[in-house]
């Protein structure tokens, strides 16, 4: 996908209540993604704030994953996929030719729908990215720190050499979060991280997301509206590839501006 964008503007800004201009952490402008001729995301616009949880909701097939994966250019690996418009990280268009996608993915980590730890030990899963990036500090400390952040340390501290595949689904997903966190990214993208988990594991991950936002900007895709309402500060509603409405979660869930949002939230479709 090579819709090269010039003009690395820093004008994608948002006025906060005090009138001081702060920059959105991730933002998109008239951003579209095509699979061949099919437009899976249509001219989306949104601005994600730093250290907040932003949820993307919508019925399945509406393009949530596609939009999320566009944020760290994971769609590059999908044959036939291409992007159009502007997707900015810290004001810089990540689809411009001078953006290194590998470097970008180190800043914007990702957690997938199905837990996908490597078939290696727990320790080596977490240490994988830091080692790859030539981390200079003490890796053991970093592993412990990351596992603590992912609320997994207490459960696995005595068996770090065990294969990650021997963990339960919920533990595996937290390990994947720890693995992403160990890379010390700024943004964490999560694509339905709880959909393969049972309710208890789900609530642990939700608590975790709550804590993670103190350090990271979290963008969470979910088809579960209650989850979005529980954990997010901002919510984007997508429908058939369009980003219908974006705003503070409270407002979206109590007084949506768009009729389609209203219909979805009240369960008339989806």
């Amino acid at each position: 996908m090579t819709e090269t964008m010039v003009n690395l503007s820093t004008s994608d800004t948002l006025a906060d209540s005090a009138g001081v201009k702060i920059q959105p952490h991730v933002s998109c402008h008239d951003f579209s993604v095509f699979y061949g001729d099919f437009e899976a995301v249509k001219k989306a616009r949104m601005e994600v704030e730093r250290n907040r949880v932003t949820a993307i909701i919508g019925p399945s097939g509406c393009g949530k994953s596609t939009l999320l994966r566009a944020m760290n250019r994971m769609n590059d690996f999908v044959p036939g996929a291409r992007a159009k418009g502007k997707m900015c990280y810290r004001g810089q268009n990540i689809y411009s030719s001078d953006c290194d996608p590998v470097e970008l993915r180190r800043r914007i980590g990702m957690v997938f729908q199905k837990p996908n730890p490597f078939p290696k030990s727990i320790y080596r899963n977490v240490a994988w990215a830091p080692k790859l990036n030539g981390y200079r500090g003490n890796i053991d400390d970093l592993v412990e720190h990351s596992l603590r952040q992912a609320a997994l340390w207490e459960e696995v501290k005595n068996e770090l050499d065990k294969s990650a595949l021997a963990l339960s689904g919920g533990q595996q997903q937290r390990l994947c979060i720890a693995r992403a966190v160990a890379m010390q990214p700024e943004v964490l993208l999560m694509d339905e991280p709880c959909s393969a988990l049972d309710p208890i594991a789900t609530s642990r991950i939700e608590d975790l997301i709550h804590e993670l936002k103190t350090r990271y900007t979290v963008i969470l895709v979910t088809h579960n509206m209650q989850q979005a309402a529980r954990v997010s500060d901002f919510t984007a509603f997508m429908y058939m590839g369009e980003l219908v409405e974006f705003g503070e979660t409270d407002l979206i869930f109590t007084s949506p501006k768009q009729e389609r949002t209203q219909d979805y939230i009240t369960g008339r479709f989806g």
Binding site: G109, M110, F118, W128, L132, N133, K162
Partner: protein, 450 residues
């Protein structure tokens, strides 16, 4: 379809499945049983005192004094036989010329058979061929030769409409009434006193070179040659094969017609008869590239490598393709480049499959005969040192099995060597295959985290 008939179907299919497995297992047993029994016979057999004498004299192994004592004990029986013969020879002097001529011929034949059995007579000049310096070293062969001493083979043409019928005529009939007549029952009764058979585990069969065209010694050069050729083939084929597989799975655009062509070529290569590879190896590696003056381990390895390349590529391709896409996604999302992803995540996860493919190709390379006929194998030869592999040909198990049974001047006398080689080759290949299974299970277990 109702329940009853569905059950019927299920049951009959189960029976069919079990039956076919039984048939296969039976076939395997029929095949492996004789190989194992006869093969083991090459190195576990009843060795005669001649064998021990040969070992002591040629290899300097065994207890010389004990062998001497044994020979001395056998001596009394042997002397009796030799005395009977010289007595008969002396009595012949008094016979008529015609009689002397006729019986003299019979006697010479008898003496030759006895030499096969017991070694040279006292007073004989030292034979040049090692096989003539000793009597039968194996008890099973000795029994066969004993029959040749006792019976003369003749063709009976009395029925003119049929071809000659082979009959065994007792030599005792020929020498009836002479001083030689008691020789035959004596030999029959005292053969084990003369040759003193004893069960032996002759491990030197695997560790020594052959003497006198496999009449004595072992098959170490063949084993080593097979090892060189196999390892050489793997060394060449695996890097190429794995890299090709990575390219085909991870980099090549499947819609590209060139890639489709390459795939077709690989499939075709896998189906080419191995003799064609042999000729190709001769024409290309030796005549065209001049990797060596003539046949060499190097040329053979290269030829075998081309032969197993498609196998390696296919196995590696399948293994790489079987690695879950999610691993790759995870690695890429953690800021790894494509190459890093392949080296640190995809290849390790594909390792069990790749290794299995490699070991199975090793088995294939070890057993192939045709590709090495023109490129690497010689029928007689000693141990090739590692440094000589670039220029020297080598004996190798598959080729020498063929060679012994088709071109050796005395096949029947060294059948056991041939079976020993077959056994060794089958054992090596089975060993490689079970290593593959074991490795695969082990790595898979480690990956699963048990």
């Amino acid at each position: 379809m109702n329940l009853a008939s569905r059950r019927m179907m299920d049951r009959s299919f189960t029976v069919l499945g079990i039956l076919s497995i039984l048939v296969m297992a039976g076939a395997l047993l029929c095949l492996l049983g004789p190989i194992v029994i006869r093969g083991v016979n090459a190195f576990v057999f009843r060795a005669t005192v001649e064998h021990r004498q040969m070992l002591a004299e040629k290899y300097g192994v065994g207890d010389r004094e004990a062998v001497k004592r044994e020979l001395a004990q056998a001596e009394q029986h042997r002397t009796k036989i030799y005395r009977m013969i010289s007595a008969y020879e002396a009595s012949l002097e008094d016979e008529s010329y015609a009689m002397r001529r006729e019986m003299g011929g019979e006697l010479d034949e008898l003496k030759d058979r006895l030499r096969d059995l017991l070694g040279p007579f006292p007073g004989d000049p030292d034979p040049i061929l090692m096989r003539e310096q000793y009597g039968e070293t194996r008890w099973d062969r000795a029994l066969v030769v004993k029959d040749e001493v006792i019976f003369r083979e003749e063709y009976d043409y009395s029925d003119p409409s049929a071809m000659g019928v082979l009959v065994h005529v007792p030599r005792a009939d020929t020498f009836e009434g002479t001083s030689l007549a008691p020789l035959f029952p004596y030999l029959e009764n005292h053969l084990s006193d003369i040759l003193r058979p004893r069960w032996t585990f002759y491990w030197r069969f695997f560790t020594t070179e052959s003497y006198d065209a496999h009449f004595f010694g072992g098959i170490w050069p063949e084993i080593l040659g097979t090892f060189y050729l196999t390892v050489g083939a793997i060394l060449f084929a695996v890097p190429f094969g794995v890299i090709s597989a990575i390219y085909l799975v991870e980099y090549a655009n499947p819609k590209n017609p060139l890639v489709a062509l390459i795939r077709t070529c690989i499939s075709t290569l896998a189906g080419v008869p191995s003799i064609v590879f042999g000729l190709f190896g001769l024409a290309f590696f030796i005549n065209e590239l001049h990797v060596s003056e003539s046949k060499s381990v190097l040329a053979g390895s290269l030829t075998l490598a081309v032969l197993i390349l498609p196998l390696v590529i296919r196995a590696a391709e399948e293994a790489i393709r079987a690695v879950p896409k999610t691993y790759k996604e995870a690695a890429l999302s953690l800021g790894a480049g494509r190459w890093r992803t392949i080296c640190t995540v995809i290849l390790p996860a594909a390792m069990p499959g790749v290794l299995t493919g490699i070991v199975i190709s090793m088995g294939r390379a070890a057993g192939e005969t045709a590709p090495i006929i023109f490129t690497a194998a010689v029928s007689a030869g000693g141990v090739v040192a590692l440094g000589e592999t670039l220029s020297q040909p080598t004996p190798a198990l598959p080729w020498n099995i063929y060679n012994i049974c088709s071109e050796h001047e005395a096949v029947n006398e060294i059948r056991h060597v041939q079976y020993g080689m077959v056994f060794t080759l089958v054992f090596l290949v089975l060993l490689l295959n079970s290593t593959a299974i074991w490795l695969r299970a082990r790595i898979a277990k480690r990956l699963r985290g048990a």
